[in-house]
């Protein structure tokens, strides 16, 4: 039996080789512990988020954790039952118009997928119209907007306004995140929530999905 505490610790301490060895161990035993391993990885990632919040970890550590997580998920996927892990449904994630940065988006994507979402990643520099269109076409109600530049705030507001103009505002929940995002920015844009800590952002999305 694979030691899940050891796996959690390895994720939180960014020990890539140890994480992947333990995942290989799980899969070598027919993946019976795959779900438990997924939970251990999520908890480890949550700890990474906490350490980022307290300043022990930096962006480099967050990104590295995301990459380790993506590799771990890839290995566990075949053993995870259809539907039991994607129980939170689909959501949209993108970097808003005018901003080419994908760093924040990609960190959050790894965490959202680890958290149980199927993420429709629309990419970078995405116009409000494209986001609304995707939500409408795919029938997705949780939207996560990312931005690094200060100008992203205006694009986030434009996106929220676009949902309103399309008559879809009441049917979606919108969260914004990234370096320039603050409580004031959230109020200005009209988004439903904001977070600067990616793991806390995932938690908000999970609450919405399970409501």
């Amino acid at each position: 039996m694979t030691d899940m505490k050891k796996l959690l610790t390895a994720v939180s301490e960014l020990e890539e080789d140890t994480v992947l060895e333990l995942i290989d161990e799980v899969m070598a035993a027919d993946g019976a512990q795959a779900q438990a391993a997924m939970e251990a990885c999520r908890d480890g990632l949550s700890k990474v988020g906490d350490m980022f919040e307290t300043g022990e970890y930096f962006v480099s550590d967050l990104v590295y954790a995301g990459e380790i997580m993506t590799q771990a998920l890839g290995k566990l996927k075949p053993a995870l039952s259809q539907g039991t892990d994607r129980k939170l449904g689909r959501m949209i994630l993108c970097t808003v118009e005018g901003d080419l940065h994908d760093i924040g988006k990609n960190i959050v994507k790894a965490m959202l997928e680890a958290g149980g979402f199927e993420v429709l990643d629309l990419g970078i520099d995405v116009s409000p119209a494209a986001i609304v269109e995707a939500a409408k076409k795919e029938n997705i109600s949780i939207i996560a907007l990312s931005g690094v530049l200060t100008l992203a705030i205006a694009s986030m507001k434009a996106t929220v306004d676009a949902f309103a103009a399309a008559g879809m505002r009441d049917g979606v929940r919108i969260i914004i995140g990234g370096n320039p995002v603050t409580r004031e920015a959230c109020e200005f844009t009209g988004a439903d929530a904001w977070e600067s800590n990616p793991q806390l952002g995932v938690n908000v999305c999970r609450e919405w999905a399970m409501a």
Binding site: L14, E16, G55, F58, V59, S60, D61, V63, Y64, G66, E67, G98, D99, L100, H101, D102, I103, N106, I107, G123, I124, V148, L149, L151, N179, P180, S196
Partner: protein, 360 residues
């Protein structure tokens, strides 16, 4: 240089020069020494008056492909700044984003997926083939200035790594033990290249007084990587370049954006003479902690120039000068705090800083 005592006659305005677009013109006083001399003296820790952006002239020549790619050309060619994009000196394609007023490499298809690939993939630029003679002729008039000529050098070390690997690849390579040796070797090789380029600048643009080398390390909230990472991975290679520049008598400023309080000791150990960080930094605290070891661009206390009376503006300037214009611990006025520099504030700052610095 002996710092001449302040004379009220220096406040005579000899000319006015354009400020930033939209800003009022800047008065030029009857300085006791040239702007170039005063700036140079600051780097010898013998400040004459508080330097603002007035006394320096940015030079960023198009002969270096990086500057065109970064849409950051300031030279005698007539090429406008904030227009550009295209391939940098390594052939990496930069995209100018008009809304952002800058260029970046579009993420998604990094040139290097792993830092270890650089050995076989990077084509090192043939800088001897750049049109140096033409550039020297083109910039002779531009560089003939009474101001301190500061040459901006873009894409330092971490920024260069990002251009090769996208941000995520670069930031992971800085801490992934399977890649860190390769990254250090790359940074070492880059430093050798930069020394060679700077040597060419010395030959063809001898008018350059100092350098501002660009390497952003942080976001609004925090540095991208730990101080230990920066110490191990970047500082030794920066030191190679600052040692060279000091050996040829040039000053070195690090341009690095982000919340960087934790990285100041590394900046000092890397040999940088000065750093003028964004206003998200507590520059007062940084000056207090490190101002004796590196010249800090100190931000003014926040006030509303439109609402403050002239006497209030002067009081703010006096307060600033009394705290930060110490002859034993000189500073410079933070470039990003320019909105505070009303005519009254500027005049008071000049006079008070002259008195303070000449009393040392």
């Amino acid at each position: 240089m002996n710092i001449p005592p302040f004379d009220e006659k220096e406040l005579r305005i000899v000319e006015e020069v354009p400020g930033f677009p939209g800003a009022p013109p800047i008065p030029v006083y009857d300085f006791p020494v040239s702007q170039k001399e005063a700036y140079a003296s600051l780097f010898k820790k013998r400040a004459v008056w508080q330097m603002t952006a007035l006394e320096q002239k940015t030079f960023c020549p198009r002969v270096n492909p990086d500057n065109v790619a970064r849409a950051f050309v300031f030279d005698g060619s007539g090429m406008k700044p904030f227009e550009g994009g295209g391939k940098d000196m390594f052939g990496i394609e930069w995209e100018f984003v008009p809304k952002a007023g800058g260029s970046m490499v579009r993420p998604g298809k990094p040139f290097l997926a792993d830092a270890n690939e650089w050995y076989g993939k990077i084509a090192w630029p043939d800088i001897d083939s750049w049109d140096w003679e033409g550039a020297a002729r083109e910039n002779e008039r531009f560089l003939n200035s009474e101001k301190y000529i500061v040459c901006t050098f873009m894409n330092g070390w971490y920024e260069r790594l990002i251009s090769f690997m996208d941000f995520e690849g670069a930031v992971v390579a800085m801490i992934d033990e399977d890649q860190t040796d390769a990254v250090r070797a790359l940074f070492d090789r880059l430093s050798d290249l930069y020394v060679k380029i700077l040597g060419m600048y010395q030959i063809y643009f001898p008018q350059i007084d100092g350098y501002s080398i660009h390497d952003d390390w942080g976001s609004q909230k925090e540095t991208f990587f730990s101080p230990v990472t920066a110490e191990n991975m970047i500082v030794p290679y920066m030191k190679k370049v600052t040692d060279y520049l000091h050996s040829i008598g040039k000053s070195c400023e690090l341009h690095s954006c982000g919340q960087l309080l934790k990285q100041i000791p590394n900046m000092i150990n890397a040999g940088w003479d000065s750093w003028s960080g964004q206003m998200i930094n507590d520059t007062h605290k940084i000056y207090e902690l490190y101002g004796d070891k590196i010249i800090i661009g100190v931000a003014p206390d926040s006030y509303d120039p439109a609402a403050a009376s002239e006497e209030e503006q002067r009081a703010f300037a006096r307060g600033y000068a009394d705290k930060f214009c110490d002859p034993k611990k000189p500073s410079q006025f933070n470039f990003y705090g320019g909105a505070a520099l009303t005519r009254a504030y500027r005049e008071e700052l000049y006079a008070c800083s002259r008195r303070n610095y000449s009393a040392g």
